[in-house]
């Protein structure tokens, strides 16, 4: 018995939709079976909250008097890209101040950067804007210094080119020294294993073949309503999958957009990774319409059925070698210890399971009280059949051969 999204929306409008989170549905399906659950349940909500470096914000300041074609801009001394129309800039989450010592005194602290500017804006704090330009007849101003606040901006929206990675590596360190990575501090000799996925709650792991999630899908982004605007960068639908179709390594990604003025710092937070840099933790959730039994089967996926690939970040990862250490599942990762090469290794997750759960719960409430209707995707993401891969960059001479 298939359901359309319109039929589900009619039920949502009447406050009659049956909604579960991707965690709750597991038990429900175990008790009632796929068939009955697919008939009874209309929507399953997912969530994730973790550092997503490929995030950033478009801001429009409005025009100063006299006008200025902002060429270079800094927000709280963090560079924002200004080579767009006169008063538009893009600030990337991982940008650091020009005078930040970075890793010159290793490990660097990275206490402030683009992610923090974005968090300050969303928190409603004043941010110092400094800009320079060369001056034109129509835009004579060459310098500008002022404070801005998100309330006064014409537009402030996140446009994150790569979020919500469908599965991710588990990082370990097989070397003899401590290493500092985007997955945290890794102790020598596989002293710990860090991962970053919400597992059974993660949006794309609940719709592994992108049947319902596509361009135009309405989502939870940073506490507000956002949209999937494109396939994400590095979107790799042909990544290795297990027999249930779930990728066992980084696979699909989505590019997402949403209005920062509606967002909350509970779900968008700056991140300082010692020895690595600055990033932004993004809270993102996607409602999945249960259009048929196959979707119910997909959303009932549980942590023990999802594997992740363990990679050595002291050698294989930085040198782009294909070697993997082993595979482990998310139930074991979430238990706090996993066994790797015969030794018991403590685990930690950069991604917060408790906030992922809270986001899925929020989406559930929005749908139950009729304030969020589901959207039909307007275009599919490239799927496994597209043959699209994640290509490496081969260093070559001009006109030289590539592997293709």
């Amino acid at each position: 018995m298939a359901k359309t999204i319109q039929e589900i929306n009619e039920k949502i409008k009447k406050n009659k939709a049956c909604v579960f989170t991707a965690e709750e549905i597991i038990q429900y399906v175990e008790k009632n079976g796929i068939k009955r659950a697919a008939q009874e349940v209309d929507v399953v909500t997912t969530g994730t909250f973790g550092p997503m470096c490929s995030s950033g914000a478009f801001l429009n300041f409005g025009h100063s008097s006299p006008r200025m074609k902002i060429q270079k801009a800094w927000l709280n001394d963090v560079h924002a890209y200004g080579a767009l129309a006169a008063c538009d800039v893009y600030i990337g989450a991982t940008e650091i101040p020009d005078d930040d010592p970075a890793n010159k005194i290793h490990p660097g602290k990275f206490s402030y950067g683009g992610g923090h500017v974005i968090e300050d804006l969303i928190a409603g704090r004043d941010v110092f804007l400094r800009a320079t330009s060369y001056g034109t007849d129509c835009y004579p101003r060459k310098k500008l210094e002022t404070y801005i606040n998100i309330k006064e901006l014409n537009q402030a929206f996140l446009l994150n080119p790569r979020n919500s990675y469908q599965n991710y590596n588990v990082a370990v360190n097989k070397s003899e020294r401590v290493i500092y990575t985007y997955l945290g501090i890794l102790q020598p000799n596989i002293g710990n294993a860090n991962y970053s996925s919400a597992g059974q709650l993660s949006p794309l792991l609940n719709d592994p073949y992108y049947r319902t999630i596509g361009i135009g899908t309405k989502i939870f982004l940073g506490g507000a309503v956002g949209y999937v605007s494109w396939q994400g960068t590095q979107h790799n639908p042909t990544a290795k999958r297990d027999k249930g179709g779930v990728p066992v390594e980084g696979a699909g990604t989505i590019c997402v957009t949403g209005d920062m003025k509606q967002m909350s710092t509970r779900y968008i937070r700056a991140v300082s990774m010692i020895g690595y840099g600055v990033s932004l933790s993004v809270g993102l959730g996607i409602p999945i319409p249960i259009i048929d039994e196959e979707m119910m089967k997909f959303v009932s996926v549980k942590d023990e059925d999802i594997s992740a690939t363990v990679v050595d970040y002291s050698s294989a990862y930085p040198n782009r070698e294909p070697d993997i250490v082993t595979r482990v599942n998310y139930r074991d990762l979430r238990s706090g210890t996993v066994t790797i090469e015969g030794q018991s290794v403590p685990t930690a997750s950069l991604s917060s399971y408790s906030l992922a759960k809270e986001i899925a719960q929020n989406l559930k409430t929005w749908i139950e009280n009729g304030s969020l209707l589901l959207s039909e995707k307007v275009e599919s993401l490239p799927g496994a059949e597209s043959g699209q891969t994640f290509k490496p960059l081969e260093i070559r001479e001009k006109g030289g051969d590539t592997d293709d």
Partner: protein, 136 residues
């Protein structure tokens, strides 16, 4: 037997005195220095685990107080800001004292300040700046 972790604030005038030597020799106390930052002619700070029989412990504390040292229990010094913490658990494997733990079910992180040795590793590694050092 008394065993406690304490924070000692040394005024500048007694930075050069052999305080720990006295605690060991005169009062028969076990001293484990967890952290020390004492520079001649400046104020100093030491985190100390002090252990001994009850009478000696009390006499030792009296000696420190008479010298003019400010003593406070250790537990106040590292604070977990629950608003900033997202329960990621990155701090857990770096904590040498086992003061940070995650609930196996909910994955919520808890901080047991009685185990904390104020090494500040968690302060450095926390991506969300949720672990704060506070000296009052």
């Amino acid at each position: 037997m008394t065993s406690q972790k304490i924070v000692l604030h040394f005024p500048r005038k007694i930075v050069n005195q052999p305080v720990i030597w006295t605690l060991i020799k005169e009062y028969d106390l076990e001293c484990s220095i967890l952290k020390a930052n004492i520079t001649p002619s400046e104020e100093g700070l030491m985190v100390l685990e002090l252990k001994g029989n009850n009478d000696n412990y009390k006499l030792g504390i009296d000696f420190l107080t008479e010298l003019g040292l400010k003593i406070q229990p250790l537990s106040q010094d590292i604070i977990r800001n629950k608003e900033r913490c997202i329960d990621c658990g990155v701090c857990i494997p770096v904590c040498p004292a086992g003061a940070l733990e995650a609930d196996p079910e909910t994955r919520k992180v808890s901080f047991n300040d009685s185990k904390c040795v104020v090494c500040e590793f968690c302060v450095q590694v926390c991506p969300f700046k949720a672990m704060e050092v506070r000296f009052e």
